[in-house]
């Protein structure tokens, strides 16, 4: 019978019974599942084979023989030995051709293993969820296309987004452009099965826009068929770590760079006893010893001049009141005051000597002295220049001294003689009034007066300080100019010159009254002296100001000058350009010096036969 073969060979546990509950057929699996191997069961009653079957089941069987179907998806049994078992079954009648019940079909399956796996899965899912939500590390499930499938709160926190916001961009969007390529390469290796997982330090773009360093660990989750399903990415914020590390690297690089790049600065490190442990390129260049000759073999004493060290030892004994010798001569003070800078003479390998400035620093690690660092530079050249400057200074101060003497001679001796000549000329004329008309005597008188003036001017020049900044005062410009106008009023009127002061009341300049008065008077008298006889002479004074300077302009309509010819010597000593009788070339020289002493400058514009404008720039005091 085919149905019997069908039942017999079915992969599940199936048995077929007649209406008396006697076995018609049973599958191999049924026989295995119920431990019936080797027993003859066909034709025998189910209850005979399993006498323990209770009334409840017999009742179910009777109901099913009457047409009912009894099913259970997962029935739980706790066996007497304490083991657990889950069963599923299906009990239903089978019908003969005439439509009457022929007996029962029973199908059972032991689903204990599946149930246990299911339970485990549920448990591990709960565990994963807990870990996922509570983990301090960012965890994300990322699709194979790079879209976020799920992200945990830590991930959101690290990147600064809310969960909803973070789900929008792909991880590529928030990865630093420089880090994308290596990340993608590793993703491909994962997908190609070349690796199980990868770690990568990369930068993510925080919502704020700045990048943060993170340690990314990615593994690929595959389905039961081994097909890639999704990535699990774990992200640890290592921004602080990375920053610190980065700084440390930078510092180390710098230090190393310094050590090696400084070819003219020697760096020698020693341990606490003086043994050389560091010896840079600069030291090698300057001293001629190679690192091989020095490192872990020598102490710095080899490059020092013995007498100099002994001399220093004596000095230290005087300072410290105790014997200091050997390597301690160099490091006693650095040890006590952190560092010491001194000039020393160093010995090269070839025996030649050179001057250095050496700074020795005590090096501590975690508060403990671990050695010393000596940094030195060749100062021979500086020494040479220094002595050159010193000799120049000697020459200069010598010259200064002579200049002072000269000033003294001008001030005193020349004045005595000039005074005598003046008074003698006057006496001569008083005693011999008839000589007043003598041309020689007239010229003598003029010469005596000129000599007196000249000496007075020279005195002004000599007495003038080049810098007077400490005496500067805030001066009201208009008042000073009005005062100066009063001073020259007599000669202005005598020469019919109109002086107009247009200077605004609000201007203040930095200066010294005497200097400012002298400057203004000089320009006014200049304007009067060099007036044009062909028109009404006018001198106009104006002022403008910017933040730095007040510019005072003295504009006349006089005879003017050809600046192309005279500008370079205009402010020189004893230059006059007009053949004017009382031209006094010293005036502009002194004025220029006074203006400069006040921190200002002078400019001039002039056209022959039109007039001259002098501009004086003085420091603006309004802004101070």
């Amino acid at each position: 019978m085919y149905s019997e073969i069908f039942v017999n060979q079915a992969p599940n546990a199936i048995a077929m019974f007649d209406t008396e509950m006697c076995y018609l057929a049973a599958s191999q699996k049924w026989i295995r599942d119920y431990g019936l191997q080797g027993k003859e069961i066909i034709g025998k009653s189910h209850y005979e084979i399993f006498p323990e079957i209770g009334e409840d089941w017999k009742q179910i069987h009777r109901e099913c023989l009457a047409g009912a179907i009894n099913q259970n998806e997962d029935a739980y049994f706790l066996r007497e030995d304490g083991s657990e078992q889950w069963l599923m079954w299906d009990v239903r009648p089978w019908y003969k051709e005439d439509g009457k019940v022929g007996g029962l079909l029973m199908y059972t399956d032991d689903i204990t293993a599946r149930k246990k796996t299911e339970q485990q899965l549920l448990l591990s899912e709960a565990q994963f969820r807990g870990a996922f939500e509570a983990s301090p590390n960012g965890i994300a499930i990322v699709s194979l296309q790079g879209n976020w499938v799920n992200v945990n709160p830590a991930m959101c926190h690290i990147l600064g987004y809310s969960k909803e916001e973070l789900m929008q961009p792909t991880f590529q969007d928030i990865t630093h452009p420089d880090d994308l390529a290596p990340d993608m390469a590793l993703v491909h290796e994962l997908l190609e099965g070349k690796r199980e997982y990868y770690h990568l330090e990369k930068r993510y773009k925080h919502k704020d826009g700045h990048y943060i360093w993170a340690l990314l660990s990615v593994s690929l989750v595959k389905d039961s068929a081994g097909k890639p399903k999704h990535f699990v990415s774990q992200v640890t914020d290592i921004d602080m770590q990375r920053l610190t590390q980065h700084k440390l690297e930078q510092t180390l690089n710098k230090l190393e760079g310094l050590m090696e790049a400084s070819t003219q600065v020697g760096i020698i490190g020693t341990d606490t006893k003086g043994l050389i442990t560091t010896y840079n390129k600069g030291a090698e260049n300057l001293l001629g010893y190679t690192p091989d000759e020095m490192l872990y073999k020598q102490t710095p004493q080899i490059i020092h001049v013995k007498e100099e060290v002994e001399e220093r030892a004596k000095e230290l004994k005087a300072i410290l009141g105790r014997e200091v010798s050997g390597f301690d001569v160099f490091v006693t003070l650095p040890r006590e005051q952190q560092y010491e800078t001194r000039e020393w003479t160093f010995l090269r390998k070839d025996g030649t000597r050179f001057s250095v400035q050496l700074t020795i620093t005590a090096v501590h690690e975690n508060g403990e002295l671990v050695g010393y660092l000596g940094i030195f530079a060749d100062i021979s050249e500086i020494k040479r220049v220094e002595s050159e400057i010193k000799s120049l200074l000697d020459v200069t101060s010598d010259q200064n001294e002579r200049l002072k003497n000269f000033a003294h001679i001008v001030s005193h001796n020349l004045r005595s003689h000039s005074g005598n000549i003046t008074i003698l000329t006057e006496l001569l004329l008083e005693e011999h009034p008839e000589l007043e008309s003598d041309e020689v005597v007239q010229n003598l008188k003029l010469s005596a007066a000129n000599l007196k003036d000249t000496i007075a001017h020279l005195n002004e020049v000599v007495a003038m300080n080049t810098t007077v900044t400490q005496n500067l005062k805030k001066l009201h410009l208009k008042t000073r100019i009005d005062t100066a106008i009063q001073n020259v009023k007599a000669i202005a009127e005598a020469n019919n010159v109109v002086i107009e002061n247009y200077v605004d009341d609000s201007y203040y300049v930095s200066g010294i009254e005497a200097y400012l008065d002298s400057i203004v008077i000089n320009f006014l008298t200049n304007g009067i002296k060099y007036r044009s006889l062909q028109r009404q002479p006018v001198v106009k004074i104006n002022a403008t100001a910017d933040s730095g300077y007040v510019t005072i302009s003295f504009e006349d309509n006089g005879i003017g000058m050809d600046l192309k010819l005279v500008k370079h010597k205009l402010f020189g000593m004893y230059k006059t350009f007009h053949g004017n009788a009382d031209a006094r070339g010293i005036g502009l020289f002194i004025t220029k010096n006074q203006v400069e002493a006040l921190g200002g400058k002078i400019d001039v514009e002039s056209t022959e036969n039109v007039g001259t404008t002098f501009k004086v720039y003085l420091k603006n005091e309004n802004t101070h």
């Binding site: 001030s411 001796n413 005598n420 003698l424 006496l427």
Partner: protein
């Protein structure tokens, strides 16, 4: 009209100055007689001798600063120590316009004024009015 003074004393090493100043003094009708010394030492020795002899001391001394042997300052220091009984008015008369010298002259209470050479009739008239007020 101002009364002239009795004895004027000139202490200076410059003969031209002495010559000219004496002439100006005469013309200005400044004094009855002159005492002239060529340096501080000469002046000091002579004046001490005059003082000790009880003779008349000069009313005014016009004292130069820069002189050989003993300069004006040294003379002043020594002369002050002698403490003359009669009042003598001392003027520093010099070509120097060095502010340091002017300052130094002011530091002596015995010095009436600082006169810059040359000495003119006007200078002498000023001295005369000082003298009369004193």
């Amino acid at each position: 009209m101002k009364t002239r003074i009795d004895i004027a004393c000139l202490v200076d090493d410059d003969p031209v100055y002495i010559f000219a100043t004496k002439k100006v003094m005469t013309m200005a009708n400044f004094c009855n007689s002159f005492l002239v010394f060529n340096n501080g030492r000469e002046a000091l020795d002579s004046l001490i001798a005059i003082m000790q002899s009880g003779a008349k001391m000069p009313d005014v001394i016009l004292l130069d600063v820069n002189m050989p042997v003993m300069d004006g300052w040294q003379f002043l220091d020594e002369f002050i120590k002698v403490k003359p009984l009669q009042k003598t008015i001392i003027y520093i008369v010099t070509s120097s316009i060095d502010p340091e010298d002017i300052q130094r002259a002011k530091s002596y209470s015995e010095v009436s004024d600082y006169i810059v050479k040359p000495v003119t009739e006007k200078t002498l008239h000023n001295i005369l009015s000082d003298f009369q007020q004193a």
